[in-house]
């Protein structure tokens, strides 16, 4: 933690009490907060409510820092969060970003993310859970602990389940060491609601409940373009309308998982592109050919050939 965030004591406080203004903008610019927030806007499509909340948190932390430099009491706020949303809406991605932001703002000392699920926290037999949970907590200290599908921690149907023990240890650390650790729970909305209903202590200790909205078709297209650019590919001009059509059809199918479905679709398009190039490998290939995904690569998807009736049987599209 930087010296500015610790409450000034003794002579320092006297010296600081004389100053009555602080350059908030410079404070944020120094910490690289603006680049971070801009990067967030650039790299994450949609997610308006999420970004708004992250801005709020960044502002709060910056103001707290400014207060600390003037010797005002700045108690570390509780920053435990809960991310709810459908699959593929970017919960893990945002959690990773969150760790970075909190680190830049001087809240998390190390800014690493430890992602765990029920298996990493809950043991198999009596006395196994506590050491396991403590082990994970120790690793996460100074950073962010991300618990994916957190509702699995509590299994109401089995009253001897060890998940409750893990929850109690978590709660204790969340309360006592909130300047050492930020806990982020993630899961689907309805199941998290039942989880919180049966664990009111957990719900009240989490200050930020953030809901991740589903993406619209346009946002998914933007995401697709961002993803191919990251993989050093590009779409042929005629591929875009086909992709738009694909996204619309894919969204109507069961098991649609937002950005994750798009990523899988792109991976399969890459497969088809590769085998297309491989099939006529006699000629030498150009740089363009190697990085262009054409309309036919996308159109070969089963989404286009299957009828609505067979789509309803719930198989994943290939």
């Amino acid at each position: 933690m930087t010296p500015t965030t610790t409450p000034a004591a003794g002579t320092d406080a006297a010296a600081l009490a004389v100053a009555d203004r602080v350059d908030l903008h410079a404070l944020c610019a120094d910490a690289g907060v603006f680049e971070l927030l801009d990067g967030l806007d650039r790299d994450l499509i949609g997610l308006a409510p999420v970004k708004a909340r992250i801005r709020d948190i960044a502002a709060l932390l910056a103001v707290d820092r400014a207060r600390a430099t003037l010797g005002l009491d700045a108690r570390p706020p509780s920053l435990h969060m809960c991310f709810t949303g459908n699959p593929g809406t970017g919960k893990t991605t945002v959690a990773l970003r969150m760790a970075e932001i909190l680190h830049k703002l001087g809240y998390a000392r190390k800014g690493h993310l430890v992602a765990v699920t029920r298996d990493d926290l809950v043991g198999q037999y009596i006395g196994h859970t506590a050491p396991k949970t403590r082990e994970v907590l120790k690793r996460a200290m100074g950073g962010v602990l991300f618990i994916d599908e957190a509702y699995y921690l509590y299994r109401p149907e089995n009253e001897r389940d060890y998940g409750q023990e893990a929850i109690e240890i978590l709660l204790q650390v969340m309360e006592n060491q909130r300047d050492d650790l930020v806990v982020i729970l993630a899961g689907y909305k309805d199941r998290m609601d039942t989880f919180f209903a049966s664990n009111p202590g957990m719900s009240s200790r989490i200050a930020h409940h953030i809901d991740f909205p589903d993406y619209g078709a346009d946002e998914l297209l933007e995401i697709a373009q961002l993803m191919v650019a990251e993989m050093h590919y590009c779409f042929a001009p005629d591929a875009l309308p086909v992709l738009r059509d694909y996204v619309a059809r894919r969204m109507a199918r069961p098991n649609f998982a937002n950005a994750r479905s798009i990523r899988n679709a792109l991976d399969r398009a890459r497969l088809r592109q590769a085998s297309r190039l491989f099939a006529d490998a006699k000629a030498s290939v150009t740089r363009d050919a190697l990085q262009t995904i054409t309309a036919e690569d996308i159109r070969a998807s089963r989404v286009f050939t299957e009828t609505a009736a067979s789509a309803a049987d719930g198989r994943a599209a290939t």
Binding site: K110, R134, L137, K138, G142, D180
Partner: protein, 138 residues
């Protein structure tokens, strides 16, 4: 008599903030911290009991402090030390070791002189506390 073993032992007892800073230093050097305790503080007793496993892969001192606090709570009247183990090939040994907890009362050592052949004297030290059975020493 105050036992002086390991780093910082001639200084006043470290505060929690100082312990944390030392642990963070060890972690930043890439050393793995571990917590050990004993009720037999003889200088030649190198085998203290381990409290949990050495903590590899921890990034922040707060994680180790959890374990230190748990050990001090479990053994408030024992000696507790923190080790920093350097696993670099060719070193592979403890680089830093300091006491973080000691009993309220430390009775010290008795010096025994044994007369052997030719009036030669052999010396040995015994901790007064170690005369009690293990577990009842402090």
């Amino acid at each position: 008599m105050r036992i002086t073993q390991g780093t910082f032992s001639f200084l006043p007892d470290l505060t929690d903030a100082e312990i944390k800073a030392q642990i963070q230093y060890a972690i930043d050097q890439g050393w793995a911290c571990s917590v050990e305790y004993t009720d037999d503080p003889h200088p030649r007793n190198t085998y203290w009991d381990m409290y949990g496993l050495p903590m590899f892969g921890i990034k922040d001192a707060a994680g180790v402090m959890l374990e230190v606090d748990a050990c001090r709570k479990a053994f408030p009247n024992h000696y507790v030390k923190v080790n920093g183990f350097d696993s670099t090939r060719g070193i592979e040994s403890v680089r830093l070791s300091f006491i973080v907890n000691r009993p309220a009362e430390e009775p010290g050592y008795a010096l025994t002189r044994q007369e052997t052949v030719g009036r030669q004297i052999r010396y040995t030290t015994t901790a007064y506390s170690a005369q009690q059975p293990a577990g009842k020493r402090y």
